[in-house]
Each structure stands twice: as structure tokens, then as C-alpha cells.
Symmetry: C2
Subunit: 211 residues, 2 copies
């Protein structure tokens, strides 16, 4: 089976899950932690080299404060959980804004935990325009070397939970050639089988890199 080296994860549907289950929207995020860890373990076992999780964006921080605090807390906890695993962790986002949680500052340079067997990137207070704004004017460097997200490689497969068929600002440059797989279930209803279905589908796609 041809495996994607790098998978992007858009873990959407937490708020819709919460509403459907009689909870407040802000109570949905916490339920995303366990899925995130399960997904990490499944990818590691399969032999994926790199995963990028879409934590929250600068756009998301405009939501009601209660939600913002809840998804920020969930991201902090997710990164802490992952730091107990065998991974090389990087948190990427705009640290100059006070929306960036100080608890995650230590992770903004890539850090090895355990044997560092798999790269894990976690986008926190990320914005696509922020990512692009330092692309320099004809200085001889390639566009990708000027990205703020230059430590995140090209993405082969993006899996999005929650049924929406859009990138929502997720790493526009690394996503230019990515195959995009959408799962209708909400993220808190994650099952390993979702990943296996996505990988099976990916294996059937050709790889042309736009050629």
C-alpha cells in the first residue's frame, strides 16, 4: 500500500456534536482529545512520517469567549498528551498575539519526546495570511522557504471530519497538491476505521503533483 508521508487533520464537528447531545457548544472540544490521541497512535503504527493537526486559527478566536477558552484549553491539553508520546512536536502559530497560550510557547521550536519517531505539528492561533506575510520579494529563495510554516512539509492527504468540504485556511501552500478526504461523522465520533478508509482511498489515487 502506498502510504501518505504526511497527513493533515481537520478535526471539525465538536460543537455540532455537543449540540446534538444536549451540551453547550463549548463542551464539545474536550471530547476531541481522546480521538486525537487515538489518531496519533493509529498513524504511528501504520508508519506515517508526519501529522499536522488543525488546532485553532486567528479566525476562530473571534468566536464567543466561552468557546475560545474551551478550544484553547483543549489544544493545550492535546499538546500535553502528545508530549507523553514518542514524537517530535512543533506548535506553530502567531505567538505575538495574546490569543496564543503561554503554556505552549516551549513547543514553538521542534522538541523530541521519546525517540521522536514521528513528526507532529499542531497549529495554534494559526492564520493563513499570517503564514504568507513574510514571503519576500524576489530574493532568490523559493516561496516555500519564506513561509512561517516552512518547517511543515508538503501534505499528501488531508482528512476532514464533520462533513465540510473546504480547507478553512489550512496551510494553503502545503495543501496545493493534497488529496482531500471528508468524513461525515463529527470529530468526537472518531474511529480508527475512518483513517483506514481514507488511506485505502488515497492508495487508489494517482500522484501527479500538478503535472
Amino acid at each position: 500500500m502506498r502510504l501518505p508521508k504526511h497527513i493533515g487533520i481537520i478535526p471539525d464537528g465538536n460543537r455540532r456534536w455537543a449540540l446534538r447531545n444536549g451540551l453547550d457548544k463549548s463542551e464539545g472540544y474536550d471530547l476531541g482529545l481522546d480521538p486525537g490521541l487515538k489518531l496519533f497512535k493509529a498513524c504511528k503504527e501504520i508508519g506515517v512520517n508526519e501529522i499536522t493537526y488543525y488546532g485553532f486559527t486567528t479566525d476562530n478566536t473571534k468566536r464567543p469567549k466561552e468557546q475560545r477558552l474551551a478550544f484553547t484549553e483543549a489544544c493545550i491539553n492535546a499538546v500535553k498528551l502528545l508530549s507523553n508520546e514518542d514524537a517530535e512536536l512543533l506548535v506553530l502559530g502567531n505567538t505575538e498575539s495574546n490569543m496564543f497560550p503561554k503554556e505552549l510557547k516551549p513547543y514553538t521550536t521542534r522538541k523530541k519526546f521519546g525517540k521522536g519517531s514521528i513528526k507532529v505539528n499542531f497549529l495554534v492561533n494559526y492564520g493563513w495570511a499570517w503564514d504568507l506575510e513574510k514571503l519576500a520579494l524576489n530574493d532568490g529563495n523559493k516561496v516555500v522557504d519564506k513561509l512561517k510554516s516552512k518547517d511543515i512539509s508538503r501534505i499528501d492527504l488531508i482528512i476532514r471530519w464533520g462533513g465540510r468540504r473546504r480547507l478553512s485556511g489550512f496551510l494553503p501552500v502545503q495543501s496545493v497538491y493534497s488529496d482531500f478526504y471528508v468524513i461525515d461523522d463529527y470529530w468526537p465520533d472518531f474511529k480508527e476505521d475512518h483513517v483506514y478508509e481514507a488511506l485505502k482511498w488515497y492508495d487508489e489515487q494517482d500522484v501527479t503533483l500538478g503535472g
Copy 2:
């Protein structure tokens, strides 16, 4: 019905259609002209404001010469066909390379035909990295104002024919929030119903712009 203002069109599957019908790959492109015109007419009638067609990319020019000549010819003819309609036409791409057909140079500034009732953008020898390479360093302008494609607005809905679920480098910045609808049929098998299905689906989506 909530209509997309701007639709991106990825007219894929010409070569696969040709092979399936016992033709050479390069013979498929010509069959894309009629669909392109039908799509234009359908969008105009529905009241869409802007359409962007993915003609060919700098990546595509690495294909065998016979194919390259065939898709270049098809793009030239498509633009000529559209110039007989009621539209404001813009051809966008890297004109500094000799892969850009000189016949299309006159269209690289937006030109009005008829009453200019709908904006039509046609990407010819376009490259995503080329598009981004002039984004300037902190000069106070927004990222989008620095794009080479700055005359092309944010895209609400992208429709791709040919079953592939990827952007293939299509306008990464204008696509950050786009809803993405994939049609399995190859582009030469275009029917107006494809567009109506896509619009019906789009109408059921929410619009959050990443919020």
C-alpha cells in the same frame, strides 16, 4: 437560493475521456470547449458574478509536447469563444515564459465584451508559486493585495470534474475558504445538471469564512 458569487472551475478528465473513447490523450482537450461555453451560459443565466477557469499551469507544461500544444490551442480557442459573449475577460498567468501563448497577450488586462455582465478569469500558464512570489515583506499591504492574481476575488465554490479531490495548485489564497464540489464525470461529459447539483449542495452549506 443562496448563490455563490464566484465559482472556480477545474475542468479535469479530458485525457481520461480520450483514452476511454479510443483517442490519443491529446485529442481530449478540444472536447472541453463546448462544455466551457455551456457552463458559461448556465452561470450567466443563474446570476453568478464571476467564474475562474483553470486552463493550464506551469506544472502542466512539463507534459509531452503533443499534449502541451493541444491544451494550449484549446485555451486559445476557449478564450476566443468567450470573447464573443457578454463578459469581462481576464487571462492570468506567467507571460514572461514562452509557454504563454502570444495570442492571449491582449487579454492579460481585463477587457469588456458585450455589456461585460459577468467576470470571467482564465488561468493560462499559471503557477501557485509564481502567484505568491511577489508578496512583500511587511510593507503594510494585506497579503491578498500583493498577489499576482489580486484581480481575482475570493472563490465561494470550486467545482472539479473528473473525480479528483484536490486543488492541484488552483489559486491557493482565493481558495482558503471555498467549498469544494467534485463531479466524477469527466469534463467532456459536462451537463448543466452538474452545475445545478453543485449549487444545490452549496446552498445547504453554511458560510463561516473560517470563523
